[in-house]
């Protein structure tokens, strides 16, 4: 007794599941996220530079913001000294979003891409949408 067809069926299921990510995408193309920085505020800047380097911000912005909330609310410290010595107001709404006033085009572009859903916007207000949630 071999139960051959059962084994082959099982293996077929196995192969289908394991190769699902490949088979689902075969022949298709994917769009890379392109966060836009073409807001008026940024256009005004001479050197288009965030408070820290681009790579650093891409990797670490969440930790930065997470530490900011404690600095501001709990310690009353509201001046961020960047690596290049420049000073910034510690505020998501009043610093970050002043430049990046295009949340959909900037934040969401990548967040949706990697399926990250930060809860910042439960309280903090996205710029310009101005309306209700």
């Amino acid at each position: 007794m071999y139960d051959g067809w059962k084994i082959i069926l099982g293996l077929a299921v196995f192969v289908v599941i394991v190769t699902l990510p490949f088979t689902m995408s075969v022949g298709k193309d994917y769009v890379k996220p392109e966060p836009k920085i073409d807001t008026p505020e940024i256009q005004k800047m001479e050197k288009k530079q965030c408070i820290e380097s681009k790579q650093y911000m891409r990797e670490t912005h969440i930790k930065l913001l997470y530490s900011w909330k404690d600095y501001a609310t709990r310690e009353g410290k509201r001046v961020y000294i960047a690596s290049d010595g420049k000073q910034y107001n510690v505020s998501l709404q009043n610093t970050c979003m002043k430049c990046h006033s295009n949340k959909e085009k900037f934040c969401d572009e990548c967040h949706n891409y990697v399926n990250v859903k930060p809860y910042c916007w439960d309280c903090h207000i996205e710029p310009k949408v101005g309306g209700l949630k």
């Binding site: 530490s67 310690e75 009353g76 509201r78 960047a82 207000i125 710029p127 209700l132 949630k133």
Partner: protein, 256 residues
């Protein structure tokens, strides 16, 4: 069972891994920025206090200006039902602002006067004592601060506060804000909020919204500073505070 030698070997091994782990976490962890500091312009005080000159508040508009300044800027939702409303600063009459005092025989003027009520920023605040997560805590400058990021919504502080100054978000707040102030966040369902003496403004060297809007009817200052204006008005006027007998040391004084 495991022999002594084995045990020593294993514990050495384990501590090696633990140490290695700790070092590598420290080495790999990316620390944000260079430093975060206090603003040099920030108002400096050791014990912020407020004196409300109740004599100067004459018209309804006097109160509303103050309240509107606070509520609009802080995105306080306007909920009609008094059971679930959120208010950082509001008014009540003498009898209910100062219950238990001899209201019957007091002057008619005072009896009919309205009083601005807000968080008293008690020096010995029961709400901070009961909070299980330090979401509400005393800042060094005496502000009874509320960290809305940390609050778990247990409502113990509301039971602890003898002044009814704390608000729980019984309803989704954004549904009840007509116009959002983009400079300040809203709160979310299920956290407690209250007046913070405009800590965000003090940190930047500005006076609280209500003080600003009152145009001199509210005096704000450092109680520990002998030369401050507040010390002056407190020493020159008759002042009362709410429920002093509870020992909470409220920092809001009412000039009558």
């Amino acid at each position: 069972m495991i022999s002594r030698r084995d045990f020593l070997k294993i514990s050495a091994f384990a501590s090696l891994i633990g140490l290695g782990g700790a070092i590598s976490i420290n080495a790999l962890e990316k620390k944000p920025g260079k430093n975060v500091l206090k603003d040099i312009n920030a108002l400096k005080g050791k014990r912020w206090a407020m004196a409300i000159d109740t004599r100067k508040f004459k018209t309804q508009e006097d109160f509303e200006k103050v309240i509107r300044a606070c509520h609009k800027n802080h995105n306080v939702p306007e909920i009609a039902n008094p059971l679930h409303e959120v208010k950082w600063i509001w008014t009540d009459d003498y009898e209910h602002s100062f219950p238990g005092t001899a209201e019957h025989y007091i002057s008619k003027d005072i009896k009919e006067r309205k009083f601005l009520l807000l968080c008293n920023h008690c020096d010995n605040a029961p709400c901070t004592r009961v909070c299980p997560v330090k979401a509400t805590f005393k800042r060094e400058d005496g502000i009874t601060m509320q960290d809305m990021h940390r609050c778990i919504g247990c409502k113990f502080c509301m039971a602890g506060c003898p002044y009814g100054a704390r608000n729980y978000n019984f309803l989704p707040p954004r549904d009840y804000i007509k116009e959002l102030n983009p400079e300040y966040p809203t709160r979310t369902l299920g956290v407690v909020e209250k007046c913070t003496f405009c800590n965000q403004r003090i940190d930047k060297g500005l006076l609280p919204y209500c003080v600003e809007a009152s145009e001199g009817k509210i005096i704000f200052g450092d109680l520990f500073d002998m030369n401050s204006e507040i010390r002056k008005v407190l020493s020159e006027n008759i002042v009362i505070r709410r429920k002093v007998e509870l020992g909470t040391q409220p920092m809001v004084f009412y000039i009558i």
